[in-house]
Symmetry: C2
Subunit: 281 residues, 2 copies
């Protein structure tokens, strides 16, 4: 802790080769809802360390070749989109990236750089959080690795609000369990004060579908009637299409009105989670 950087050291630090190398990766926590359960996109590692373990899709940030063979530095968010496209794409190509940018909400989560988190070398991982409507199963194609949507409940995170439906617990590589846990907390929290829940459903959607998103992510049932009124009372949250569903629900009920995302970026007032009134000490 005791140090005063000399001028020489300061200038020397401009040449990174003078020090041990640091690698930068971008990892993606992609969340979606399938069968009423929150799922995260994972890949099975084919190489050590943690061979055979499941891990977040990600890769090193590096200079890549452009269309004319020139060197192109990739933006961090673009790298996250690329990782997502590689693992979710049916057939990789220029289209999938465009589709992802259009349908998937992407935001930076946090950066993880604790020494020793990767046994090979110093690795700084910039984690991104992606919210997607139901996407097709990934093709274990381009990479040798298997990729799959995995219920977060099977990860054994010592976290609230995630039902333990699966018996088995999958142990994640590196500190990825921590990253997923942070992602879940961020997701739960963002549902409160942003219209992010709409990123989990395809347009147009019903209020009930939106409620299912909240119930799945928060892990607790909400009162249908009050939820309905609340959503419609927040300006700019959703916008009516004037249409309704073609049929009622699978087990009866009237046809529901359809909505698309509104233009609000924050919810005022927010939808506070029930149950955790007190206690966050």
């Amino acid at each position: 802790m005791d140090e005063a950087v000399s001028e020489e050291e300061f200038l020397a630090s401009y040449d990174p080769r003078a020090f041990d190398p640091i690698a930068v990766t971008v990892d993606v926590v992609a969340l979606t809802i399938r069968d009423g359960e929150l799922h995260v996109l994972l890949v099975q590692r084919g190489v050590p360390p943690f061979r055979g373990y499941w891990a977040l899709p990600g890769g090193f940030v590096k200079t890549r070749k452009g269309p004319q063979g020139e060197r192109v530095e990739e933006d961090l968010a673009a790298a996250a989109i690329r990782e997502l496209a590689e693992e979710t794409g049916q057939q990789p190509g220029p289209n999938i990236a465009r589709v992802i940018k259009k349908r998937v909400h992407l935001e930076q989560l946090a950066t993880y750089g604790t020494p020793g988190r990767d046994p090979r070398m110093r690795v700084i991982s910039v984690a991104y959080l992606a919210f997607a409507p139901e996407l097709p199963d990934p093709q274990a194609g381009s990479d040798a690795q298997a990729a799959a949507w995995v219920p977060v409940s099977s990860l054994g995170l010592a976290d609230n609000a995630v039902g333990q439906r699966s018996g088995t617990t999958r142990k994640l590589a590196f500190d990825h369990a921590r990253i997923v846990a942070d992602a879940l907390e961020r997701a739960r929290s963002k549902l409160e004060y942003t219209p992010l829940a709409t990123a989990f459903v395809a347009e147009p959607f019903t209020i009930s579908e939106l409620r299912a998103v909240y119930e799945t992510v928060w892990g607790e049932p909400l009162h249908a009637g009050n939820f309905h009124r609340k959503i419609l009372s927040v300006p700019g949250f959703v916008e009516s299409t004037g249409e309704t569903t073609e049929t009622g629900g699978p087990r009866g009920g009237p046809r529901a009105r359809l909505y698309r995302r509104g233009d609000a970026r924050l919810l005022h007032p927010p939808l506070l989670r029930p149950g955790q009134e007190e206690g966050i000490r």
Copy 2:
């Protein structure tokens, strides 16, 4: 966008020297309140690029020598504390880091990695946000650079809620204006749902001092009576010491009761900012 990483490329990427180097820095946005105005800690650059410009304190993450000369990899948060200590310390030493850890709230803000943000090379900057009670003026000592607490209103950020009191506008180096703007928005938002305002005042403090923090960061006056009741009604926000100030205010008024930070980590319900009810579209 079109690519499928081959196994060779994938393995090659484990050696960062095979690619153009990437540097990682930690930058700190340290905020404090002086004379009823929000200030940020800046250093004046002594070397190109942006020589003479003001910039956030920060430095490259690198392997450093430990007490026995062994190589020690520094945690990102520890690097942020070190940067802060170097620039705010009266006399650098082991004490100042301990003092900072005790009195300063530190959290990660975001990571900035847009290509070209540093003209020299690819630099990924992990920005940290620090909230501090009033600290002494930095000594322009150890480094050749000048360091100073600068009113954020003098930075000409096209942002709301920051009064333009100073006539001059200081242009910041790199993308640091953007980072400071993000930091301010984070700070304003965190005052709403966390007890973070207490990090800006020294213990013990009065409710009025706490209100001054909110008014300064949010840039709008709050109703004294309602604020008072609200603060005391949130469980765990503040905790009475049983004492009062020695004297009344400088312009009259009774002696105020003194409080210290409570054990709450989130405010339930939150203190929502007035004025921006609508509009965040």
